[in-house]
């Protein structure tokens, strides 16, 4: 309740297949009445369903360029991975310059903010004595995953600002200085590789205000490509280490030193988090975890093949200086409030009631066939059992349970059909060797499975 989500369903494109429900890492989707339904409390906007849907019925809703109109001075905040979509077709200065032709007055590279965050992370790790490993807060889909599925790990999320939010702060300050306008007149727009960042940008948060809007990369991809050739030049101020955040391993490389582990792809992230929960990885200092294959270059709203995008990004950054020596002053604390769990999977707010529901859930699951086929509209048999216990589904939603009920019913019908009213002495059809009577029905009862008569023959 009360969550804004970027990921939505386009009803008329949805065919009600089971692809998305089976891939959702938080089991947040059900098919009901032939259409996918997203359970808002559970959705983490990772974009897995956008990737998997063969009908392109899952979409990400963000801001359009018309949102720029509300501000007098507009700053583009390109994600480090943004440039990977155009690298190889133009140099960095012209990729950034193309943004100025779209209505932006200035560009503030998120890669630059990332370098500030990397330095702060290094300091934090130097002084940290708590439970290890710490987990990066940079990918909001991973943070959401932890909140929903790994609540015991929220306290291991590094409580520092993300490059996106810091870039918004720095860009706003710079805009005020450059124009003399009040901060409200400065609009900062993150150019996003993914729905997770769109949602994160909209989430009200304590501490640092994020960007004023988030524009999905896919929405401006065509425009930018068109303008690359004629774009003005806009100098880059970030270094290779900041741009490295756009692909897996880059964040760790820019932090440097220590034992830092990187993992990409949400299902791989789940494996690692599961192991952290069991107490493994305690000798690792920091985990860079990114929901997308290859990192943000593989974001669900990116256009290029992720592996090609990673190659192009690496190639482009090779020509950049390693990093900025004179990093901008962050202008205040980079600390963030600790992340809270999202109890979306809880069976009940009352523990005793929840336990009772769990008992019923386990018992219900034991009666289901265990095929995890998804035909019921829930992602697997256990999820259907859970939906039943929550009162949102019934056991006959399972085609196998239904088939069995129908069979029992059919047998009863046949049995009833065999019964004759006492007033009738003889079978209606009067064929001579038929011995049917009231007692004849008994041959259809009992355990004779397998070749029982079909219901409608």
């Amino acid at each position: 309740m009360g969550y804004f989500h970027s990921v939505r369903l386009e009803e008329d494109k949805c065919k009600g297949c089971t692809n998305c429900i089976k891939h959702c890492p938080t089991e947040a989707i059900r098919v009901r009445e032939g259409k996918a339904r997203i359970i808002q409390e559970r959705c983490i906007d990772c974009g897995e369903c956008i990737r998997i849907c063969p009908n392109h019925a899952k979409i990400a809703v963000g801001d359009g360029l018309e949102a720029l109109d509300a501000y007098r001075y507009r700053v583009a905040l390109p994600a480090p991975a943004f440039v990977s979509q155009f690298a190889g077709r133009a140099d960095l200065e012209h990729i950034l310059g193309a943004l100025l032709t779209l209505g932006f007055d200035a560009v503030y590279e998120v890669a630059l903010a990332a370098e500030v965050v990397a330095r702060e992370t290094r300091r934090y790790l130097d002084n940290y004595r708590g439970k290890k490993p710490l987990i990066s807060p940079a990918c909001p889909a991973v943070v959401g995953l932890i909140q929903v599925r790994f609540p015991s790990l929220v306290e291991q999320i590094l409580p520092l600002v993300t490059p996106m939010d810091l870039a918004a702060r720095l860009a706003r300050r710079e805009g005020v200085r450059a124009t003399g306008l009040p901060p409200e007149a400065i609009g900062t727009f993150f150019l996003s590789p993914c729905p997770a960042k769109i949602t994160a940008g909209r989430q009200p948060q304590e501490g640092m205000a994020g960007p004023d809007g988030v524009i999905p990369l896919a929405a401006i991809y065509g425009d930018i490509r068109q303008r690359l050739a004629t774009a003005p030049s806009c100098p880059s101020r970030a270094g290779a280490s900041g741009y490295g955040w756009g692909h897996s391993g880059g964040e760790n490389a820019s932090i440097g030193g220590r034992r830092l582990l990187e993992v990409d792809g949400i299902h791989h992230v789940i494996e690692v988090l599961t192991q952290i929960e069991t107490g493994d990885f305690e000798d690792i200092d920091y985990i860079e975890a990114q929901a997308c294959p290859g990192g943000c270059v593989g974001g669900a709203l990116m256009v290029r093949n992720p592996y090609l995008a990673r190659l192009e990004l690496r190639q482009l950054t090779r020509e950049l200086p390693a990093g900025r020596v004179d990093l901008p002053d962050p202008g205040g604390s980079l600390a963030m409030a600790p992340v809270q769990p999202r109890p979306a999977l809880l069976l009940d707010a009352d523990l005793a009631t929840a336990l009772e529901k769990m008992r019923r859930l386990e018992a219900t699951q034991a009666l289901l066939p265990g095929l995890d086929c998804g035909s019921c509209g829930s992602p697997n048999c256990r999820a259907l059992a859970e939906d039943i216990v929550r009162g949102e589904a019934q056991d006959t939603d399972c085609v196998f349970v239904l088939r069995d009920r129908v069979r029992v019913l059919a047998e009863e019908v046949v049995e009833l059909a065999r019964k004759l009213p006492p007033s009738m002495a003889q079978p209606e059809r009067g064929s001579d060797n038929e011995t049917a009577g009231n007692s004849g029905a008994s041959e259809f009862t009992g355990p004779g499975r397998g070749e029982s008569p079909g219901p409608g023959g």
Partner: protein
């Protein structure tokens, strides 16, 4: 007020020497407790103790099962296996004592910390072992 209800009971078979599945039982218990809403600190203790008991079945026994009995007030884990048993329980309880062979130690087990860890996590611990017959470990953790 709900004390009269029977506990939730989970039974999870544990196969000897199955290192791929080893740990799944504890993970399942953890997931159930999380979805029911036990406090994280309680869940952590249960999960660690269950994991150590489970891995001891995997590594040191010929196979067995985990049983979890869960009420709002108390969680009981019973790890039972079919042998070979522990000849000297006091010795086995000592930190650093392990009979794990080298190849197991190379996998990162066999520090002799499992049983001491269980004792740290448990409010009550009872080990019953008969050489040749098997071992039963009963772990009780209160929700408070």
């Amino acid at each position: 007020m709900n004390e009269a209800r029977p506990p939730l009971e989970l039974t999870i078979p544990v196969r000897a020497w199955d290192f791929l599945a080893g740990g799944d039982g504890a993970a399942r218990v953890r997931q159930v407790l999380q979805q029911v809403g036990f406090p994280p600190a309680v869940i952590r203790r249960v999960a660690i103790a269950t994991y150590e008991a489970e891995m001891n079945i995997v590594i040191h026994s010929q196979g067995g099962e985990l049983k979890a009995q869960i009420t709002p007030a108390v969680i009981t884990i019973i790890a039972r296996d079919t042998g070979p048993g522990i000849p000297d329980i006091d010795l086995a309880m000592q930190e650093g004592y392990s009979t794990a062979p080298r190849e197991i130690q190379e996998m990162g087990f066999g520090a002799g910390m499992g049983l001491p860890n269980i004792r740290r996590c448990a409010d009550e611990l009872a080990i019953d072992s008969m050489p040749g017959k098997g071992t039963v470990i009963k772990i009780v953790i209160y929700n408070r």
